[in-house]
């Protein structure tokens, strides 16, 4: 990861009529049945993965995906092509998941299992001064690490997990994430930071 690479990026502009997306879009708007199946084939699996990460439950994820695609089919005439088709669908899936979560009966949010950074009375950090052994690539080779990281993300309370998934995994901008969740960019930053710290604590416990 390069620091500073996570700011909002301009979405690529499609050339009208010349890209594979444009050809598929024309067929979808013409009502070709095979075009709908092809859309599901091209984007369905990736978007189901997104829904799974947001919803945590396979049935809910599939229901959200269905809602999202039906919404997309109804909105094809409104798609202006200012973003890629996949990006547009991604946004619809995320919104469908969030709508379903909001519609659920509100439960008190579980507390975040977080060991916040510690500072002495002068404001200096209390912590290790040696870099830990191994690097990210070496850690990734271990199945137990991959499993712990996945479980670590899944175990975050909804409010923190969804921000982490949208920002760090799906790479939405802070502004896009805040808009999708209906919270301020400041609240988004705080939740994301705390979610990352909670996940970091879990990764550190694997190392020990």
């Amino acid at each position: 990861m390069s620091v500073g690479s996570r700011g909002p990026e301009a979405e690529p502009v499609e050339l009208p009529g010349s890209s594979p997306d444009a050809a598929l879009l024309a067929r979808l708007r013409a009502g070709e049945d095979d075009a709908y199946r092809e859309l599901l084939r091209l984007y369905g699996s990736r978007l189901l993965a997104v829904a799974r990460r947001v919803m945590r439950d396979e049935t809910d994820a599939q229901d959200c995906l269905q809602d999202a695609f039906l919404s997309a089919f109804r909105s094809l005439a409104d798609f202006e092509g200012k973003s890629r088709l996949g990006t547009w669908l991604h946004r619809i899936v995320v919104n469908a998941c969030l709508a379903r979560l909001r519609a659920r009966k509100r439960r008190p949010e579980e507390p975040l299992d977080l060991q916040p950074p510690e500072f002495d009375r002068h404001g200096f950090r209390i912590g290790p001064t040696d870099m830990p052994p191994g690097n990210a690539d070496e850690l990734l080779e271990r199945e137990e690490v991959r499993q712990q990281v996945r479980q670590g993300i899944e175990s975050l309370p909804d409010g923190y997990r969804i921000v982490l998934v949208l920002r760090d995994i799906e790479e939405l901008s802070t502004l896009e994430t805040a808009k999708a969740l209906g919270i301020t960019t400041g609240a988004t930053k705080v939740r994301l930071h705390r979610a990352r710290l909670a996940l970091r604590n879990r990764i550190e416990s694997i190392r020990q």
């Binding site: 996570r6 369905g44 995906l65 002068h122 200096f124 001064t129 040696d130 990734l140 995994i169 930053k189």
Partner: protein, 117 residues
């Protein structure tokens, strides 16, 4: 920043991890009175924005200077960035390993729902 004063300040601040109580009080005084120096608690407030690339040039220089002088925060920041990278890499690996196709019953359900409207 390249004056003799800064050379002295840098040398002193780099010894923080092994400093005794008296020296730590000097460090704390320097941080309160010398521009561009941060406490680690202040540094913590900038970490997210630094990763986002949204610090202005002055803030970024201040952040970079603290990273240069504070071994504890170097280690902390390395862990922080590694966490972000691992989360993304694990999810990407899971996506790559998953079936490229939707379950056929889900495809059928979506297409049937579309036809019913």
């Amino acid at each position: 920043m390249r004056t003799l004063r800064w050379v002295f300040v840098r040398k002193l601040m780099r010894r923080r991890e092994t400093a005794g109580p008296a020296e730590l009080r000097i460090h704390a005084w320097l941080v309160r009175h010398v521009p561009y120096l941060l406490t680690c608690a202040d540094f913590e407030q900038f970490v997210h924005d630094y990763v986002e690339g949204s610090l202005d040039p002055r803030e970024r220089r201040t952040f970079d200077l603290h990273m240069e002088l504070c071994r504890t925060c170097q280690v902390y920041f390395a862990h922080y960035v590694e966490t972000i990278d691992l989360g993304k890499a694990v999810c990407d690996a899971a996506d790559a390993a998953a079936s490229p196709d939707l379950p056929e019953e889900l495809v059928a359900a979506i297409l049937a729902a579309r036809s019913a409207r």
